[in-house]
Symmetry: C2
DNA sequence: CGGGGTTCTGTCACCGGTGTCAGGAACGGC
DNA sequence: GCCGTTCCTGACACCGGTGACAGAACCCCG
């Protein structure tokens, strides 16, 4: 055994047994030093630490987690990481995880519901401690076998056929506030444009839209409710709206995806006085002319809340907590929701 | 042993030995069925598969990876996931990884260089097969011990003091093309605004900016080169530029972060004919009035290239390949780079 | 009918840590 | 001097799969 050289250049990761051999102790004693066990003499501890430094030893987390049966990691599954909303959610989750030295496994689910289960199981088979999921499917029973070992927190949309935590937004309330704001500015003919009515979030926003109209005594008009066909984009929907007798003076856009598609189209048509409020902020909304009024969702706060709840479940599996957390949304009034032009 | 019921409700994940017991075979035979080993009789295979379905067995990846010593996962480390550029990169990487059934571990590095090493090591100690990193630090020697077991691909910025693959953009060429375009449109006084000149990417863009001016015989003017102070934002820089004798008629913004801050400010000042080209596309750039001309980086292509290179290194550790991959960038001409107004 | 090859299945060790337990040394109190 | 307690260290099994190897059954061919 050569004399320890602290400056050694190490070209390979070493194992605990190599450290033990170099320090002249058993593997278990090295383990004790790593884990700050109090029952190690100062002299031995010193020797082991020198050996660790000498070999640039880093514990193999694979075997640690294997031994305990639980990976010190959480999973995050969202439809699309390139979507700034989910990007911000994931960013917040990774920050909370790092504070706890927990690794984050990530997967994108895409938009096809049938892809959710295999993607989620690819994370679960690693026996992660918890999973944060923004679901795309309508049936989460497949998660049942994993509940004993893994905590689940749903975000954006609640679980179906499974009892689990959910952090959602006040979809109906936010939509209602947006439409009430348009009503207060004198709009009576207000259109609803959404992207995918099979999503419960969009349904709730439509419910809020309708409730606001009802409360104001404005008669509903199904011709003003439009679903966007992703193949053709928003131009067809706008054309159809303009052909309605007594056409709308304002649009409530039910999600930022729709708004992002809608805005260039409105600009291209020179936007004949059509007001707009978007559910969901989006980049540059404030810099556009007119700047776009939005219902702001604060994705970072949502990510924080989801991570906090997940870690609470991991730390206290038996604690009783309300399953549903509703994040408030905030109406951010800008220029695009001004009064209708007098004709 | 009860008769197999395929409809069993399973409340717990089961192990291979439980499957083996139910099927009346050895654990190794179950392993063979899982891994599609050809030496299993049809009759046994059938029995084992029924037992797997009955118990809803999913292999424990923790032990698989532990046995082989290499985690079937790759790591991705980027400064900020909420940045749409990195979001799109990560989205592309996760798609490529999913095609290969490889898990993706993610971490955000933040902007402080000293945070990079601990964040990277938290991934590496899991013995991942590869790491894609957009570095924030200037010294990557700490990765040396891991090279034997882990492939490294740097993105956006090349490694320092370490020989490893890098997928970068044509920063100088893109900047040069942008500035040449402004020159062709008659601009002679062109400002450079960047966010952080310690980053090599920004340095290269400035080099391209200077080279374009030099080739055109336009005398350089250091007063037109500005670094943005993130604390005060772009207003101070714009004010300083407008006070220069013979002020600029165009701005070359060296990164999308800067552009995103700059655009609202230009709008607020009613943008007195100041042209703009941004290095890096950003959301809504096409929808703004005037729409913003950009040097488009295609982050998805960058993520694809990085993932492809990583998997090539993992599959063929000895193959000789060029270390540096330069992704082309594309000048996307829109309205904001038009000719200067005649005064 | 014997030898060689292929097919199928099981036994056992092993990956690299950690939990359990045992045992020796040192120390204090009566 | 004896017993009980605390301190320190090591031996050993174990987590759940898989690689190496052995052995049995069967087939084909000379």
């Amino acid at each position: 055994m050569t004399e320890p050289r602290l400056t050694a250049i190490v070209a390979r990761v070493s194992t605990m047994r190599e450290v033990a051999a170099l320090a002249g102790v058993s593997g278990k004693t090295v383990s004790r030093v790593i884990n700050d066990d109090r029952y190690v003499s100062a002299e031995v501890r010193e020797r082991v630490q020198r050996a660790i430094a000498e070999l640039a030893y880093v514990p193999n987390m694979l075997s640690q987690t294997f031994r305990t049966g639980r990976d010190n990691a959480i999973g995050v599954a969202v439809p699309d990481l390139a979507d700034p909303f989910f990007g911000a959610v994931v960013q917040a989750v990774t920050e909370r995880a790092r504070e706890r030295s927990v690794a984050v496994l990530i997967t994108s689910l895409g938009s096809r519901p049938q892809d959710e289960q295999p993607a989620a199981e690819s994370l679960l088979r690693r026996h992660i401690a918890g999973l944060i999921v923004a679901p795309t499917s309508d049936d989460h029973r497949y998660l049942q076998p994993w509940r004993a070992g893994t905590a689940f927190v749903f975000i954006d949309r609640p679980p179906r056929h499974l009892a689990a935590d959910a952090v959602v937004q006040d979809d109906a309330g936010g939509a209602r506030a947006a439409v009430e704001h348009l009503l207060a500015n004198g709009h009576r003919r207000i259109a609803f444009i959404g992207w995918d009515l099979t999503l419960t979030t969009i349904q709730h926003r439509r419910d809020g839209y309708r409730a606001a109209l009802r409360s104001a005594g404005v008669p509903p008009d199904h011709r003003l409710e439009r679903v966007l066909d992703p193949a053709v984009g928003p131009s067809a929907a706008l054309a159809a709206l303009s052909e309605v007798a007594d056409p709308p003076t304002a649009i409530f856009s039910a999600d930022s995806q729709t708004s992002i598609a809608l805005v260039p189209e409105l600009h291209a048509r020179r936007n004949r006085g059509l007001a707009l409020v978007s559910f969901g902020d989006f980049p540059m909304a404030a810099a556009l002319r007119p700047s776009v009024s939005v219902v702001d969702q604060d994705p970072a706060a949502l990510g924080d809340a989801a991570a906090e709840r997940l870690f609470t479940r991991v730390d206290h599996p038996t604690r009783r907590l309300r399953r549903q957390i509703v994040m408030p949304v905030r109406l951010q009034v800008r220029q695009s929701s001004a009064r209708p032009r007098v004709r």
